[in-house]
Amino acid sequence: MQLRAGNQPVKILQDISFEVFPDQVVTIVGPSGSGKSTLLGLLAGLDRPTQGSIRIDQTEITTLTETEMAHFRRKHIGYVFQAFHLIPTLTALENVALPLELQGISTGQSRAKALLQSVGLEHRLHHYPIQLSGGEQQRVALARAFITQPPLLLADEPTGNLDSTTGAMVIDLLWELHQQHGSTLVLVTHDELLAARAQRILTLRDGAIVNETMQPLSSSIPGT
């Protein structure tokens, strides 16, 4: 992956190759600027690599057109951002229902309601993002990411903007949802405790994978 800064190409990621299996939880760790977020963005098809190949569920996503990528994303990928990125002019319920509507499913509201209930926000359905706390906003974002039941869920420092208690709550929830829906989960994080809960940890430095750790399954079960 190259980006251009002025006329100088900057290589952000190079010689990265890895495979993630269904239902796996993978965390990507590494110092700032190591290319973690870029990698996640590439996986989500938000950006394009200058070279290389990314396959998700048999689909080579680097060759998809912008529209094809959007359609692929709405069916296969959920994304949770560090900064939540809820739409400020929509209520919690509407934010969660939006991805379904983009797919042309009009019964989204009842499913969204159920999902918000499962993240403990049944009393906040009609609040706007600005009326919600950070933790609540991220829970809405989680519900939004899961509503399409995507096979792949990507989360970019989901606790980065939250205090540690709220962060822990959000992580528990993320794990719960992962288990309920059976999505493959790829997480980028600074948080070593959070990283330790994954089955597999990839460590990135200067755009390359420098370490990969596999963990016994048991450690990924919350509360143990």
């Binding site: 977020s37 938000l46 912008e66 709405r74 002019t89 399409t148």
Partner: protein, 885 residues
């Protein structure tokens, strides 16, 4: 259930109403102008079509200007035998006089006034209603009144209020017209067969046919207009009857028209007026469209984070574009609705500018169709102008979501700066099929709008072509000025360079502001220049030796009397007195002319008009001989056959333009019909005539003696000082009541007044265009106000005082005004020159004062607009601004 995307659109709009204020205004001004004009056009249509029979005075009208043969009279008389109701109306100009009792002198003074006399019979009006006050039957009001007047014969007469005011009369006063006396029995409020009296020579007086005879004004050669109106049974079909009448009467110069072509000239005039006003309205809408494009672009730039988020959620570009297009159309719809309301309000104000041109009783009620049409035009314009900025949505990468640190406006800026060079711009455009398609939609949309507004394919194409050319020239012209400015070194002028750079940095709206202001200035300059030239033609260019009066219908036996009265009272006044006779052209080179075939043609007027013939021994002054020879003025034409000319025909000298249009050359023969008698002449010379000298000018001049024996009358012109005009008119009319005096100054004043009124209306619309330009500028400035706020904060933080900041802003807005103004004025000059040169055949004069004033006013306007929309930014404390950023 309401879709979430709809709620999203709705809330984005409702959370920022104030931002869209200018968008509403931009659309509303354009739509308002178009709706007002169209409502008026609908009213005109209503009046002309709805009352077509009343306006014509019947189902069919037969009209002519001179005596007709017995055979034709027989045809007319047979009409009533066929169950057709006939009404005979005669119209002519005449002098009305009143005695003013003077207590000091035993004699009475007389006051006189030119009136338009109309004699009617009892079936009149066949359609519609005559409105008079007091409201009595016309027959009773016009009846012969032997006992009520001081002199006999005496009849009742209806007079327009303006006559009563001018001669200080009331109902019950007496007047004298020709040899008859009249008692004014009622005020004439409305004639169903007269649409407006703006173009008349004087107030209307209506009398009976019996009374007309008593005036003895109708003599051979008098200037009269006869009208036979027919009311036909429904069972009769119109066309066969009209064909039959045309067959019998056309060759005698009788015009046969049906109610379907009532008021053709007024209709054409109003159609043209509506067309021009409508196109100015469309121009305003297009200028407003620039404001729409700016507002939408600013809006989209601000919404980039949300667009990126939507894309990460799997929305594709077309979904997002649809979402924002719906918003734009909704906003445009609201603006158009407001425009509809504004249009109705403007429409109410229209009669102010159209007094005398439209009937006072014309209904000015708004109808629904023009309003709906205006709203549709507004929405189409919104669509065309918001599509382009909306296309930028495709270039918003979803990756922006996690690259928050990057300035949100940069993707747009990057895209824009990549394509600033023309070559790359074109390549980019061509490679982007969607953009090509959208360009086609926009061009097609604007052209379609123009065609719809002009009701004509060619005119619509011409208008949109002219718009495109104007846009290119404006952008090209200002582009050259900016590049000159960039390459000039201003060593100590950092702020000037800052202003220039600011106008050209990515994400600027300089182009939009330049176009919006420039088009307004161009329109204003064009209209002012054209109007000034036309008014000058009417008013200022009247030569000092132009006559003050035309006297018409002087009978041959009154010729010496006329000269005597003139010499006695005004011995120093120069005068011209020539014999004339009216004629019609019936054949050229032996080929008969069919007047019907030439109707409606561009040069048709030359074939169907009436020609006033006269004789001159020597070439009149201001006439220049261009071809052939003037006749030998020592020889008299001898009609007994002892002539040395081979053709044996009298010679005629033709006016050049008329000859060209009639296809005449030297040696061509003309056959004219003079009061039913055929008369032939050979073209012996062509003349150039200066029509603007307001003297007696003739299309056809015959050699001396050629008209001997014809039923001649005389017309005279004379010039007296302004103060002597009234005494002269009164002296002539007192001595010869049948002679009609036409005051040249009054007539021209009348024309100029109507023209000025119209010009004011047109200019009010042009002003609206300039206003829209200012609104576009405010809209464009307000979009970038946060960036400007940041710039100002930095300048402040660096120690810039308020005056420095003002100077910096003034520099920027002043430059926009100066450049847009300069190029707009230049284009205005070009356009007005073309209009004057090609349409009016007038010379264009350069008036530096108007141009300099125009430029200064534009700069002042842009400075004021700019300061008005930025002055509040000056007050913000810099620290809070910089921290927020």
């Amino acid at each position: 259930m309401i879709p979430v995307s709809f709620k999203l659109a709705w809330r984005e709009i409702t959370s920022a109403w104030s931002r869209f204020l200018f968008l509403f205004l931009c659309i509303a001004l354009g739509v308002g102008a178009i709706v007002a004009v169209d409502l008026f056009a609908a009213n005109v249509e209503q009046v002309i079509l709805g009352d077509a029979r009343a306006l014509l005075g019947g189902d069919v009208e037969l009209s002519w200007r001179r005596a007709i043969t017995d055979k034709s009279r027989g045809v007319l008389n047979s009409l009533s035998d066929r169950g057709i109701l006939v009404s005979h109306v005669t119209e002519l100009a005449a002098m009305a006089t009143v005695d003013i009792p003077d207590n000091q002198v035993p004699l009475t003074e007389t006051a006189s006034q030119l009136v338009e006399l109309k004699a009617t019979d009892s079936p009149y009006p066949l359609y519609g209603r005559l409105v008079v006050e007091p409201d009595h039957p016309a027959e009773q009001l016009l009846a012969s009144l032997q006992s009520d007047c001081r002199r006999s014969p005496c009849f009742g007469a209806l007079a327009q209020e303006s006559l009563l005011i001018r001669l200080n009369l009331t109902v019950g006063s007496e007047l004298r017209i020709g040899q008859a006396n009249f008692l004014i029995t009622a005020v004439l409020k409305k004639e169903p067969d007269r649409i407006a009296d703006g173009f008349s020579l004087g107030p209307r007086v209506m009398i009976s046919r019996e009374a007309l005879e008593a005036t003895t004004l109708v003599k051979t050669g008098s200037r009269i207009q006869e009208r036979y109106r027919l009311k036909i049974n429904n069972s009769f079909s119109l066309e066969p009857l009209m064909d039959e009448l045309r067959g019998h009467l056309s060759q005698e110069g009788v015009q046969v028209s049906s109610f379907r072509d009532a008021q053709p000239r007024l209709r054409r005039f109003l159609d043209q007026l509506n067309l021009y006003l409508g196109l100015i309205g469309l121009t305003i809408l297009l200028v407003g469209g620039i404001g729409v494009a700016c507002t939408i672009q600013g809006f989209i730039t601000q919404k980039i984070p949300i667009i990126a988020t939507l894309k990460t959620l799997g929305a594709d570009s077309s979904q997002v574009i649809r979402l924002y297009l719906t918003q734009s159309l909704f906003l445009g719809g609201i603006g158009s609705l407001l425009g509809g309301i504004l249009g109705v309000a403007l429409h109410r104000g229209l009669p102010l500018f159209l007094q005398g041109i439209i009937p006072e009783t014309m209904p000015m009620n708004p109808t629904i169709v023009p309003i709906l049409r205006g709203i549709a035009l507004g929405i189409i314009a919104t669509l065309a102008f918001s599509l382009w900025p909306l296309l930028a949505i495709r270039h918003v990468s979803p990756a922006l979501v996690f690259r928050q640190a990057i300035d949100q406006s940069q993707t747009m800026a990057q895209f824009r700066s990549r394509v600033t060079r023309w070559g790359t711009l074109f390549k980019h455009w061509w490679n982007d099929r969607t953009r090509v398609l959208v360009s086609v939609i926009i061009v097609g949309g604007v052209t379609g709008l123009a065609m719809w507004q002009a009701h004509s394919l060619t005119l619509g194409l011409f208008f949109s072509g002219a718009c495109a050319l104007a846009v290119l020239l404006l952008l090209g012209g200002t582009g050259v000025l900016y590049s000159i400015l960039r390459h000039v070194q201003f060593p100590q002028r950092y702020l000037l360079r800052h202003a220039v750079n600011n106008l050209q940095r990515p994400g600027n709206f300089t182009t939009a502001m330049t176009l919006a202001i420039g088009i307004g200035v161009m329109l204003m300059t064009t209209l002012t220049t054209v109007q000034r030239s036309l008014l000058e033609l009417i008013g200022n260019q009247i030569p000092s030796n132009a006559p003050s009066f035309f006297f018409i219908d002087i009978q041959p036996d009154q010729h010496p009397q006329f000269v005597r009265v003139l010499k006695q009272r005004f011995p120093d006044s120069p005068y011209d007195l020539v014999p004339v006779v009216r004629s019609r052209l019936t054949a050229i080179n032996g080929q008969p002319i069919n007047p019907e075939a030439h109707k409606g043609q561009r040069n048709g007027w030359y074939f169907t008009r009436e020609y006033v013939l006269t004789t001159f021994r020597i070439l009149p002054k201001d006439n220049i001989l261009t071809h052939g020879h003037w006749w030998d003025d020592t020889k008299e034409h001898v009609s007994d056959g002892a002539t040395n000319k081979p053709s044996d025909l009298p010679l005629v000298s033709m006016e050049e333009e008329a000859a060209k249009n009639l296809g005449l050359t030297l040696g061509s023969t003309l056959t004219l019909d003079i009061q039913g008698i055929s008369f032939m002449a050979t073209v012996s010379s062509l003349r150039q005539v200066d029509w603007s000298n307001f003297s007696m000018n003739f299309f056809m001049i015959l050699e001396p003696g050629a008209l001997d024996g014809a039923p001649l009358t005389y017309i005279a012109t004379t010039r007296v000082p302004k103060t002597s005009e009234v005494p002269l008119q009164q002296a002539i009319v007192a001595a010869m009541p049948n002679v009609t005096a036409i005051n040249v100054g009054d007539v021209l004043e009348n024309i100029a007044r109507i023209f000025r009124q119209l010009a004011m209306g047109i200019q009010a619309l042009a002003l609206l265009c300039l206003m829209t330009g200012a609104v576009v500028m405010i809209a464009a400035i307000s979009i970038n106000r946060y960036r400007r706020l940041f710039d100002l904060a930095i300048l402040k933080a660096l120690g810039g005082g308020r005056s420095l900041l003002l100077f910096s802003l003034g520099m920027e807005f002043g430059l926009i005004g100066a450049f847009a103004g300069l190029v707009g004025l230049g284009l205005g000059c070009l356009l007005s020159w073309s209009i004057l040169h090609f349409f009016f055949d007038l010379t264009w004069t350069f008036d530096p004062i108007i141009l300099i004033m125009g430029l200064l006013l534009t700069i002042v306007l842009t400075l004021m607009t700019g300061f008005l929309s930025t002055y509040r930014l000056l007050g913000f404390p810099p620290l809070s601004v910089l921290r927020q950023e």
